[in-house]
Structure formats: structure tokens, C-alpha cells
């Protein structure tokens, strides 16, 4: 029994780290609080190294039947997402240390909540059962209620928190009711049992209704149309590190569950509902891109671009194939580096109380050429211009859909919408680039001071964007093997 704990070793380490941060806070002098954040980021770095160890990766071949009754799955997909979440959390923690002055109180708790949310995401990456899915999703969501409203002295932050709270609670109510209906029809909470029974379950309306409710709950997490209303307000009001983590972690957690549920466990159902998913994906892309066009607030703009990106990522689900899953993973990796860069730079350029208006970027190429270049690379990568990370992500997603396209007109519509979305998005992304380089209404040239840890994060993100864009061969192999391991074990 005890030696089976090795399956959850990473999660255990993360949880212990979170508790240690809370306890360390009691002994550290307030002036040293900065240190706690950096130390916990460093510890997460060590945990990341643990996830690379061969003995951990080899767990893929062992079965968790005894310990978790196959409710907890370790496979290539789970390990990929665990690493993704840890990496995102490291960047966000370093970011949060820089942001700590604006939180005013409870810095260490802020770090601890980021770490607890990370634990929830890591459990979600392995969830293979509805109880696991529900508890890990709620661990993420409830921590985010707190993280979003952390700046209690700012009305916007509180407002964003309350909006997220109410809409999040409605979505989890739908999700639970869906789970109840599915359980009633399938008689089991395990994804594997659903997989075994899927052909007979497809004939049951109660089951389909339950799946629809469950999908509504997960669509809220990834901010897909028609469950996207919360995103702009929450992204804008939340403290910037929270926004970054929300945009990356929460969305990726939704996607790993969607992949596990729709692509791996219930492929027949997804095939049945292809038209529905095509519609949702297409409308999400259109809505996000068109609403982003008139935005002046950068965080709001990124919220809409995040909605559009959820639409692109859904294309990988629509494709229903290993290639589609691999494309989702690749796209998310590129998205991680680009988003962290952009949010960090926005934070460096705005002071507390100011809105994150696009004009804060003016004159950036004179104030700090390094930041200007990093910002441009990140934005251009998001826009999907070759040869950067975002381009290959979008390319793989579109390719995975195009391969399936023959014989179904819906796929062609989706492809057309996706290409149109990319073109529309170029307008607002290049609005940002233009502000950085050419739009100088103010002539102040105050250099921007960038601390060493932040510089480290920015440099690694830029390297990540360039690496995924210029040398895609190796990373494509990684994501393909991460997506493939799963299907192999399914065939057994």
C-alpha cells in the first residue's frame, strides 16, 4: 500500500510544499517574504526535475488498479500535463513575487494558493473517474475564487471574484448534475466502464443529457462559447499573476479532462456530436476574435484572444485523433510561453491603480529594447505568424482537422472559420506591435527596471517560443509520444 504512493509522489511533494510555505510564513520576518516565493519556485523546479526522472516516467507501464482502483491514471498525457502545470506555476510564482507589493497583505498565502491550485491541476491531469474529476476541478476553482479576489482593496478584483464565484458555482452545479445522470445510467463513475459500455449508453437520452451538462461545466473552464461571459471581466479584474495562471492552468486542466473524456473514453459519443463540437469551436473562434478587435484594455483583449484560442484548441478535440491531441499539446506549450511573456511585460509597465490600457506600451522600443523584442515575439507567436511557436501549434491543429475533412462539409466550414479567425486576429495583435514601435504620443524615455528573476523568466519564455518555432522536430516527437502512449494502452 505505502509503496503505491509513488504514483502520487509529485502531487504529495507539491502539497507538502504548499503547507511548508504556510508554516514558513509564521517564522520569517516580513522583510524576507520575497525569499519564500523564490524558494518555493526553486522547490517547484526541483519537483519538475523529479518528473523528468526515468523511474517516474516508467510508472506509465505500471497499473494503478490496486491503489486507486484505476481511478488515477499515469500515462504520457498525464505526465506531459503535469510538467506543463509545474512549469506554468514556476513562472507564475516568480511573477507573483514581483507583484507582491500590490497585494498588500498575505503574500505567503498567495504563493500557497498558487501551489494548491497547481496540486489540483496535477490531480486533474491524472483523473480517470468522475469523483477524481470533480474534486480536482473544484480544488482548482475554489482556490481561484480566492486568487481572483485577492486584492481586497480594489473593487474590480472583488467584483471579478464574485462574478467568477457565481458563474463558477453554476457551472459546477451543472457538472455535478450531469455526473449524477451519467452515474444513474452507466452505474459507474469510472471512465473505463463508460468506455466499455459506450455503444449501449449512446442510445440513452438520460446519458446524453448528462454528458451535455458535464460538457457545459467543462466548457466553462476553457471559456468556450456560450460559457465565456465571465472571462473578460474576471481576466481584467483579477491580479495579473492570477490572470496568467487562470488563462494557462485552468484552461489546460479543462482540456486534459476533455481529451480524457471525449477523445479517449467516449470516442463514439464525440463522433456522434461532431456537428455540435464543430459549431462550438467555430463560434468560439469567431466570437473571441471579433470581440477582441475594439479592445483597448490589454487584459481584456487577452481574455477575448483566450476565448478564440479555446476555439482553436477545440479543433483538436473535433479532429478526434492522436494527431489532434498532439496538436493541442503543442499549441498549449507555445501558448504558455507567449502568455507569460505578455502578462509579465504588462505588469512591468503599469503601476497599481492604472488600467492596463494599450497606451502603456507606447515608446517601449526606446525604453527597453529587450522588452519590446520579447513582447513582439510573444504577440506574433500568438497571432500564428511563421516561424514561431504559435504558428506550428495552429498549423498542427488545422492539419489534424484537414486530414479528417473528406466527406464532411462541417470540417471545411470549421477550417474556413479558423483561417478567417487567424486573419482577423492579426489586426489586434499588430495593433499591439504598432504601439510598441511606431505609436509615440508621449516622448518620455524612462528605462524600465527588470529584476533578475523576471529577466530569467522572460529569457526562458523567449527561448521557448523560438525553440518551438524554429526547431519543431523534437518537440513534435515529444507531444506525439505523449498523445500516443495513451492509445496504445487503450488497445490492450
Amino acid at each position: 500500500m505505502v509503496d503505491q504512493l509513488k504514483f502520487v509522489q509529485l502531487e504529495m511533494m507539491v502539497l507538502v510544499l504548499g503547507l511548508a510555505v504556510l508554516i514558513a510564513d509564521l517564522w520569517m520576518a516580513p522583510s524576507k517574504r520575497r525569499l519564500i516565493g523564490h524558494l518555493s519556485a526553486l522547490s517547484l523546479g526541483i519537483i519538475f526535475l523529479f518528473s523528468l526522472r526515468e523511474s517516474y516516467v516508467d510508472l506509465v507501464n505500471e497499473s494503478t488498479d490496486v491503489f486507486f482502483n484505476s481511478r488515477y491514471k499515469i500515462d504520457g498525457l498525464a505526465i506531459f500535463f503535469k510538467r506543463f502545470f509545474i512549469l506554468a506555476a514556476i513562472f507564475v510564482l516568480i511573477f507573483a513575487v514581483d507583484f507582491a507589493d500590490r497585494i498588500r497583505s498575505g503574500f505567503s498565502e498567495y504563493y500557497a494558493f498558487i501551489i494548491f491550485a497547481l496540486a489540483g491541476m496535477m490531480f486533474a491531469a491524472s483523473a480517470n473517474d468522475f469523483s477524481m474529476l470533480f474534486v480536482s476541478i473544484e480544488l482548482i476553482t475554489i482556490t481561484f475564487y480566492i486568487l481572483v479576489s485577492y486584492q481586497r482593496h480594489r473593487l474590480q478584483s472583488l467584483e471579478a471574484g464574485v462574478k467568477y464565484l457565481i458563474l463558477g458555482a453554476v457551472s459546477s452545479a451543472f457538472m455535478i448534475y450531469g455526473i449524477a445522470l451519467i452515474f444513474g445510467e452507466a452505474g459507474s463513475l469510472k471512465f473505463e466502464d463508460l468506455h466499455a459500455k459506450q455503444s449501449e449508453l449512446l442510445g440513452s437520452n438520460v446519458f446524453l443529457f448528462g454528458m451535455l451538462f458535464l460538457f457545459a461545466g467543462l466548457a466553462f473552464k476553457i471559456s468556450a462559447f456560450p460559457f465565456q461571459v465571465w472571462a473578460p471581466d474576471v481576466y481584467q479584474g483579477a491580479p495579473t499573476p492570477t490572470t496568467a495562471f487562470l488563462a494557462l492552468g485552468s484552461k489546460a486542466a479543462g482540456f486534459v479532462l476533455l481529451i480524457r473524456l471525449l477523445v479517449i473514453s467516449l470516442p463514439d459519443l464525440t463522433r456522434e456530436w461532431t456537428t455540435l463540437f464543430i459549431c462550438i469551436s467555430a463560434v468560439t473562434i469567431l466570437y473571441g476574435n471579433l470581440c477582441a478587435l475594439p479592445q483597448r484594455n490589454l487584459k481584456r483583449l487577452l481574455a477575448y484572444s483566450g476565448i478564440a484560442n479555446a476555439g482553436y484548441l477545440l479543433m483538436g478535440i473535433v479532429a478526434q485523433s492522436e494527431a489532434g491531441t498532439a496538436a493541442i499539446l503543442y499549441y498549449l506549450a507555445g501558448y504558455l510561453f507567449a502568455l507569460i511573456t505578455i502578462f509579465l511585460i504588462i505588469n512591468l509597465l503599469t503601476k497599481e491603480g492604472e488600467g492596463e490600457d494599450i497606451s502603456c506600451l507606447e515608446n517601449l522600443n526606446n525604453r527597453s529594447p529587450f522588452l519590446a523584442v520579447a513582447m513582439t515575439l510573444a504577440v506574433v507567436s500568438l497571432a500564428g505568424i511563421p516561424p514561431l511557436a504559435g504558428f506550428f501549434g495552429k498549423f498542427l491543429l488545422i492539419k489534424s482537422v484537414a486530414i479528417e475533412a473528406f466527406g464532411n462539409i462541417g470540417y471545411f466550414v470549421l477550417l474556413a472559420v479558423a483561417v478567417f479567425g487567424v486573419v482577423a486576429s492579426i489586426f489586434y495583435y499588430f495593433g499591439i506591435v504598432r504601439t510598441v514601435f511606431w505609436n509615440h504620443k508621449v516622448d518620455e524615455i524612462t528605462p524600465v527596471s527588470v529584476g533578475l528573476p523576471i529577466r530569467f523568466v522572460l529569457v526562458s519564455c523567449v527561448v521557448g517560443i523560438l525553440y518551438l518555432g524554429l526547431l519543431p522536430n523534437k518537440p513534435i516527437k515529444w507531444v506525439e509520444s505523449a498523445a500516443a502512449v495513451e492509445n496504445k494502452s487503450l488497445l490492450e
Binding site: 468522475f130 475564487y145 473593487l155 467584483e159 471579478a160 449524477a180 445522470l181
Partner: protein
């Protein structure tokens, strides 16, 4: 005396869920919206327990414990948030939450 069947329980649970959803949509007071949300969660609990009983599978009842625990955590965070908002704005009406627009 009618022997209660699964559909009776599901009818109750469906009614609870609809009442809760209606409350969330219609009411403007955040506290009442929050109460309605709890109603929706408990509707799912009733359905899970009933289905668990009639399926002869205890997994559903265990799930209910998870839901109750999570709902308690959610309520404590949510009420704290609503109180913090009230201190700042002196309001619990959703209509007043409009400081962020385009």
C-alpha cells in the same frame, strides 16, 4: 401507500434543480443567488443517492460526501467574498457590479 420508485426521487431532484436555476436567473440579490446554487448542488445529491440505491452501487453515495465537503468549502469562500464586497460597496445586488465595461 405508494412505494417510491427511482422516478419519484428523480422528479424531486429535477424540481429542486429547476427551482435553483430559476432562482439564480431571476433573483438579483447575491445571497439569494448563492442559496439557490446550494439548492442546485443538493438536487444533484438527491439524484446521486437515489441512483446509488437503485443501482446497488455505493459509489454514488461516496460521491455525495465529496460534494457536501466541497460545497462547504465553496460556501465558506463565497460568503467571505460576499462580505468583503459588502464592506467595500455596501451592496449585495448583482446590478451594482458594473465597474468593468468595454
Amino acid at each position: 401507500m405508494i412505494e417510491p420508485t427511482l422516478s419519484h426521487y428523480l422528479l424531486i431532484s429535477g424540481a429542486l434543480f429547476s427551482i435553483g436555476l430559476l432562482g439564480v436567473i431571476v433573483r438579483r440579490n447575491i445571497l439569494i443567488i448563492y442559496m439557490s446554487l446550494e439548492l442546485m448542488l443538493n438536487a444533484a445529491n438527491v439524484a446521486l443517492v437515489a441512483m446509488s440505491r437503485f443501482n446497488g452501487n455505493l459509489d454514488g453515495q461516496v460521491m455525495v460526501f465529496f460534494i457536501i465537503t466541497v460545497a462547504a468549502a465553496e460556501v465558506s469562500v463565497g460568503l467571505a467574498l460576499i462580505v468583503a464586497l459588502y464592506r467595500k460597496r455596501q451592496t449585495t445586488e448583482v446590478g451594482d457590479l458594473a465597474s468593468m465595461k468595454l
